[in-house]
Amino acid sequence: MTQPVLTATGISKRFGPVLALRDVAFHVERGEIHALLGINGAGKSTFIKILSGMIQKDTGSIRIAGQEVDLRSPKDSIRAGIATVQQHPELVHDMNGLDNIFLGRESRRPGLFGRVDRKAMQSRAEALLARFSVPLDLAREVGSMAAVEREAVAILQALADDDIKVLILDEPTSTLTDVEREDLFELMNQLRAQGISIIYITHQLEEVFAIADSFSVFRGGTCVARMSVADAKASDVSLATMMLGEAIGDIFPPKADPDSAGEVVLKVSGLASASKFSGISFQARKNEILGIFGLVGSGCEELAKAIFGVEALDRGEIEVNGKAVAPKTPRDALDAGIFLVPGDRRTEGLALDRPAVFNVPMANLRRAAGGGWALRGRSVRADSKSLTEQVALHPPSLSTPASGFSGGNQQKIVLAKGLYTQADVYIFVEPTIGVDIGARAKIYGLMRELSETAAVIVISSDCDEVFGVADRTIAMHKGRQVEPGSGVFNRDALLFAGIMGERKQ
């Protein structure tokens, strides 16, 4: 084989008392898609930040095509040929795709002759676009683009600089639908064909086998393994085991005994809302997790929001513990004993600048005030402490702002907030987006625990998640509910029902 395009040896990085990276050895070949795996805290983000010049390594060396490089700033990294697309690409939503690509280039390359003229940029961007057969209209405003189109714009923006050899994609698929993901993979394949190497971070292990040529696994601040995907397939290794360092059986908790399902807690019948969904009827019981599988646009997230009183409901009845309720606001829903773990925890679930002790009591201030007006500071603190322990928040800090936690631990704070409300019905929407495998297992386990005292509904566009965690499943397709003909869905039938909108014959 030829010389690797990127080689890192002996990379270490210390943050105060924490040794975030320890003697990392890593390399990427020319024109390969290399997946970077590891649970949160394994050090992969720190490593990526070093490669992209956002932070500086303490020791070690980085070589690009055999040349040692000194990456002191993002500009240095780009000059060396390493471009990075962040997990949430920062694009200007009011500008069109072309201007966004142009903007990134301009800000990164203050040329000798000042600003490059617009026309030259336009033809340059068109030439760039011509290299890839991406069906992308760059004249459209970024704000009106789908998630995958934005990702493509961000990738083109990163590649707009000359001679990019290594492209780093940080969890690009976390906000994409299955169909969009295929489009992104297509673009990645084209990049690979042109000799660009891609370092690809993902939590979705099946994607590694679908797209990557090789992968590295980070654990405890160092790179513990590097393998080609072909070898991994042949030897049947478990990526999850490599990431966690120990064998875990299933990340899903054991299923409930079908006969043990308890009393009906939530009963909805004939729910309909404008053009989003109609004719939705189901029951959710104690000791049973109900799963609803639906793609983006199937109306299942809107259904959850309608039950929670965030969005309007045109028709239908909702009963909680046999009592009819009609939530017009989240307040009504919470009073009726319904809690929603929202799909977008950063905007809908958390005050990000505030610590757990602020977020946990937020949805039940009545309890925080002991039924009166004055807050019971001590009991709020004690409850927050015990609930964050129950959800295994890591690090177990009540005073760190929510933004300082990983995605999985932010979700655990939302969960603790839900537990504080002592609701009778818990609805989870896309509960594990951006959550690493260790935290996912914990969250699924908590759902099972919760189901002992409350009805639990899991709504997700990830079929394996719905099938894995739920005892009983239904699918939603274009606002309609699809139920198994008799008995229960198996995994393939559920997937078919959610994608095609009909029962598999």
């Binding site: 943050f15 606001t329 809908e348 937020m362 201030l365 800090s397 300082g404």
Partner: protein, 337 residues
């Protein structure tokens, strides 16, 4: 160093504030010996009462992450309204009630337009403030109102003392005490803060965010009325430009206090307004014209915000100019993958 580490979180900021106050007092006392006289100090106390009330009202609006730029206009209109009621021979309490009702109505209008109708806060309050400033001229066409002021007893609000301290300062301390209890010790306060931190998440948590945003504007307008009332009491007449000098100290107090204390709170506003009032009164005692002193105070506000902002300190930390404390807390999130 070890002693410093044992202090509760935020104590450093409190110490910084006390040091600032003492340094400022010392500087003014050296520059102008009259600064520490009884007359000067009681003047500061009275001015602090007026500035402090306006700043306290503004604090509620800033906590829900909005702006209210109608303070000057509201003060002018309600001030002239109260003057007109007094001049017509009605008792003082009625004038105050009328002022508060007008303030509540104007604040309610702003609050409704911004929270329910979704109007942009800055444009809306500038418009409402301008309309109010114009309406202040309705009563006399712009002439000063002073009839009946001495008979009505309004000047007692300025002159009366209790235990040697002017009643207006007592009133300020009382309102700050109540506001502190409400904002930091009740669920209403938590809801105000939650609304400001993330209105969507607060809505999803069952908090009636619109109600809290709307009432912040009502509270702000009512406190503006009380502030202008003290200004009328001090000057003994009502003029259309009486509220003009409330807005800058109020904003400066809220934001300088927040910068020093690391967040907007009733206590931070109190700290900010104390500093601002000392500065303004100190300068006026030294004979600095108001158009210079306003500029200097605004500059100090800007420097204060810069000196206490986390971004700047993190940046400065890179040059080892400031304590290493900020760097260490930064590593907690840095260690996350």
């Amino acid at each position: 160093m070890t002693v410093l580490k044992q202090l509760p979180k935020g104590a450093g900021r409190g110490v910084a504030f006390v040091v600032l106050v003492l340094a400022l007092a010392l500087a003014f006392a050296l520059a102008e010996p009259r600064f520490l006289t009884h007359a000067s100090l009681s003047g500061i106390a009275r001015h602090m009462a007026a500035n402090g009330l306006a700043a306290l009202g503004l604090t509620f609006v800033v906590i829900v992450r909005k702006f209210d730029l109608s303070i000057a206009g509201v003060a002018a209109f309600t001030g002239m309204s109260m003057g007109a009621v007094i001049a017509a021979g009605y008792p003082l309490w009625l004038a105050i009630v009328v002022g508060i009702m007008l303030g509540a109505a104007i604040g309610g209008l702003s609050g409704f337009a911004i929270s329910k109708a979704g109007f942009p806060d800055i444009v809306t309050t500038i418009a409402i403030g301008s309309v109010c400033a114009g309406m202040a001229f309705l009563y006399t066409g712009g002439r000063s109102i002073f009839q009946n002021f001495f008979q009505s007893g309004i000047t007692d609000l300025n002159d009366a003392r209790f235990l040697g301290i002017s009643v207006s300062l007592w009133f300020l301390l009382l309102t700050y005490g109540i506001a502190w209890l409400v904002m930091h010790r009740t669920r209403t306060g938590l809801a105000f803060y939650a609304t400001g931190e993330n209105p969507t998440a607060a809505h999803f948590s069952g908090i009636a965010t619109r109600k809290f945003i709307g009432s912040a504007y009502v509270i702000c307008a009512i406190f503006t009325v009380l502030a202008v009332l003290l200004i009328l009491a001090e000057s003994g007449n009502a003029e259309t430009n009486k509220g003009a000098n409330l807005m800058m100290p109020a904003y400066a107090g809220v934001f300088l206090g927040a910068a020093i204390m690391g967040g907007t709170s009733v206590i931070s506003t109190f700290a900010g307004i104390l500093l601002i009032t000392m500065l303004l009164d100190g300068f006026s005692l030294m004979g600095v014209p108001y158009y210079y002193s306003d500029g200097v105070v605004s500059l100090i506000l800007l420097l204060g915000v810069i000196a206490f902002s986390d971004t700047i300190r993190t940046w400065a930390g890179g040059f080892k100019l400031f304590t290493s404390k900020t760097k260490r807390t930064g590593s907690v999130s840095g260690g996350q993958a």
